[in-house]
């Protein structure tokens, strides 16, 4: 029973962490921009969490205009590392993230929309570009990934090295290693000596009690009749 609970807990924890990283960290798509548009979005329900908060006043808005970039992208698998050959439509929202989470510090939505417009191309004469984005696409809940940057590339067959993610995970590993070292140092220098102290004084105390008891017993023995 306990094993089940432990494993359920572990699986839930790691899945959530993976989902958080997968949602938040930047990913790259090879795309051809088809069109851009702007549409009023209602923000009243729980899917609000999938929309950005570009500035303070937007926190209280029930609806606002959001810019979108319609693209056709190369299908990929394994977190986008391999192209499978097919193509599929992908629509990105284009919103400032401002000073709030996730911390992309994106303020250039209007510029990005212009760049995307500038890169529009037709199927017969495609102009490919690499779109950096974060977030998920979900048709059921109308969730869109947020475009962060776009840059034109020579051909659709490009290898993108995710430098930021590499750096991020190296940094995370270093941070965890430090946290572990700090915790061990704390235990070694602070907790263990304190525990030792406590157990020493416990030993002393029980010794004293034993001695008392011995004396008391000896005193009792004096009342017994001597054989």
């Amino acid at each position: 029973m306990l094993t089940y609970i432990k494993w359920t807990f572990r699986i839930v924890l790691w899945t959530s962490l993976f989902a958080l990283a997968h949602y938040t960290l930047p990913q790259h798509d090879v795309v051809r921009v088809v069109n851009t548009y702007q549409e009023r979005q209602d923000l009243g329900d729980w899917t609000r969490i999938f929309w950005a908060q570009p500035d303070d006043q937007s926190a209280n808005l029930q609806n606002r205009d959001v810019q979108f970039i319609q693209t056709v992208r190369k299908k990929t698998w394994l977190l986008g590392f391999y192209q499978t050959g097919g193509e599929e439509p992908m629509v990105f929202r284009n919103e400032d993230t401002g000073w709030s989470w996730p911390f992309y510090f994106k303020f250039d939505t209007a510029n990005l929309q212009t760049e995307a417009d500038d890169l529009r191309s037709v199927k017969e004469n495609p102009e490919w570009a690499v779109m950096t984005h974060y977030g998920w696409r979900n048709e059921l809940w109308s969730v869109f990934p947020n475009a962060v940057a776009i840059r034109p590339v020579e051909s659709a067959d490009v290898t993108v090295i995710p430098w930021f993610n590499i750096f991020f995970f190296v940094f995370l590993a270093v941070a965890l290693a430090f946290a572990r070292a700090a915790w061990r140092q704390f235990r070694e220098r602070m907790v263990d000596p304190a525990v030792e102290d406590a157990s020493e004084s416990w030993d002393e105390m029980s010794e004293r009690v034993n001695e008392r008891r011995g004396r008391f017993r000896r005193w009792l023995d004096t009342w017994r009749s001597k054989k």
Binding site: D56, G98, F103, Y104, F107, D108, A149, A181, Q185
Partner: protein
């Protein structure tokens, strides 16, 4: 603007926690090193007060040294990283 202020305040608080933890850790490691090096030079334990003086002198050198001041990087590096990110993204 409110977002920036909020980020700066909470970021400062979080970094301050990290700063305190890092400086405590660094000081503790330095003290342990000093203890170990004394014990290596004096396998028999040596004079207790001389040992204390040696460690205190070493800790004083640490407190005034460069290494301790480098912990300020805890504040500087994230700020610079954010600035670089803002520049690169926009």
């Amino acid at each position: 603007m409110g977002g920036l202020i909020r980020l700066v305040i909470f970021g400062f608080l979080a970094l301050s926690v990290i700063y305190v933890v890092v400086s405590l850790y660094s000081r503790s490691v330095r003290r342990e090193k000093l203890e170990n090096s004394w014990d290596e030079d004096h396998p028999d334990g040596g004079d207790e007060s001389a040992r204390n003086a040696y460690i205190e002198a070493g800790m004083h050198a640490y407190e005034t040294g460069l290494r301790r001041k480098l912990i300020v990087l805890v504040y500087i590096v994230p700020a610079v990283a954010a600035a670089v990110l803002i520049y690169l993204v926009n």
